[in-house]
Amino acid sequence: MEGIFRGGSESDDEIFLQQANDEDEYHYSSSSISKLQFRKELSRARWVDGMGMAEVIEKKGQIWVTTGIVRNGKTYCSIEEILFFMEVGALCLVDDNDTCICLEDIYKKIEGKMGAYCLELFDVYRHLKSLGYIVGRHGTAWSLKAVKSTCRPVSLQVSEESSEVMTLGSADKLSIIELFGTMQINDMMPVFDVYLPNSRFRKSSPGTVHLPKPKLKSLRDDVVAFL
């Protein structure tokens, strides 16, 4: 068969893999940085210092189907949700005096609210949310009416040492930590639960994510590749 193993004296074929388009994010001129438009109708939320969250006092649009947690009939949103919707112009955050809190003040507030790597965790949240995923804090129920089902979401872990994000299929927190233990990756805790985009998402029954299962494919000569 065609030599997958060509032996030590193979010619040094340098295959130039298609360069990641990540370099395109470095714009030479500011005019190529995209801008968002303010939405016509802004939702409003009031910051609650004691909770470290904001209580939603005015809901506009469909964003609240997949954002915020429901407790006693009220909706509260976390700092990452606040920041995300303020950045995209869908939310106005106010303090006790109904004065608008600006983005700059929120950037200062975020320090310490999500742990040491707050801004990095927010980067992850923002990235996935922008792609349409439904993202919630791991271990925090969307609603207390949530049906206890055997279905579980994918959990995203962020390492304490770096802000690299790894997706892992599976179960609950305990077995994720066990899994990490066997790989000798310690001090990693799940941070977010991530669900596929779903227009019929219900906080009372968040459901699960269809995980791409690893496939074992037989090649010739019984060589098995893990895809």
Partner: protein, 236 residues
């Protein structure tokens, strides 16, 4: 490996507009407006006015955050980029939370607390930046930094840099390049993306990283690593 410019005219554009000059323009703009950044986690956020936005983009510091704010463009800088603007170019103040701008020593301490290896990564970063290379995170290639001859929109990065502490005793920065298999993997990967592996050996020379003054005592040794193919050399 020769630099891979992107498109016709890119090299000429770069020669006409050297990075040293672009960085100096950013420096003067930030100094004039007494610019200030917010330290949050392992990043520093800066709100740039219209003219500064262009300078940040061209000097390749930070990455822009897309928001609705029409008056300001927010940029998110790494700890190394922000500290370089503060400590070397002296054109930026940095606040932590609501507290007024920190002194260099206080800021250094904040950064070391957030990132244990900051003194080494900053030494490497500044070592290259001072020589007018553009330095960005190399995490997508599994290395510490990628290094560009000029702006990434004009040229592909030539080097993928990995930092290694010179002093042994198991005091590794990141456990990289301690076994041959890692050298092989890394050089192979670098080759596949048309970059040369650049190993930066950081020697602390016995200094502790309690203050930014230790940076003067650190030394950096550069070493490129590439595969030598005996079959390909004979004809020379």
């Amino acid at each position: 490996m020769a630099p891979r410019w992107k498109g016709k005219g890119a090299e000429a554009k770069a020669l006409a507009d050297p990075m040293s000059k672009i960085v100096a323009q950013l420096q003067s703009s930030l100094t004039q407006t007494s610019a200030s950044g917010i330290l949050s986690g392992c990043s520093v956020l800066i709100a740039a006015e219209a003219e500064q936005t262009d300078r940040f983009s061209r000097a390749c510091f930070g990455r822009p955050i897309v928001t609705v704010d029409k008056d300001k463009q927010w940029f998110q800088l790494s700890l190394e980029e922000a500290f370089f603007l503060r400590y070397y170019l002296k054109c930026l103040k940095i606040e932590v939370g609501d507290i007024s701008p920190k002194s260099d020593e206080e800021l250094w301490h904040c950064m070391i607390t957030r990132k244990e290896t900051f003194s080494d990564s900053y030494k490497a970063y500044s070592h290259l930046r001072i020589k007018n290379w553009v330095v960005k995170s190399g995490s997508q290639y599994g290395v510490d930094f990628v290094v560009y001859r000029h702006h990434p929109s004009l040229v592909h990065s030539e080097y993928a840099a990995v930092l290694v502490l010179s002093e042994g005793n198991g005091n590794d920065l990141n456990g990289r390049l301690r076994v041959w298999s890692d050298f092989h993997c890394t050089t192979r990967l670098c080759g596949s993306v048309a970059k040369t592996l650049l190993v930066l050996y950081i020697n602390r020379n016995g200094n502790f990283n309690v203050s930014p003054l230790c940076l003067e005592k650190y030394t950096v040794e550069e070493c490129t690593v590439s595969r030598w193919s005996p079959e390909q050399c004979r004809e020379e």
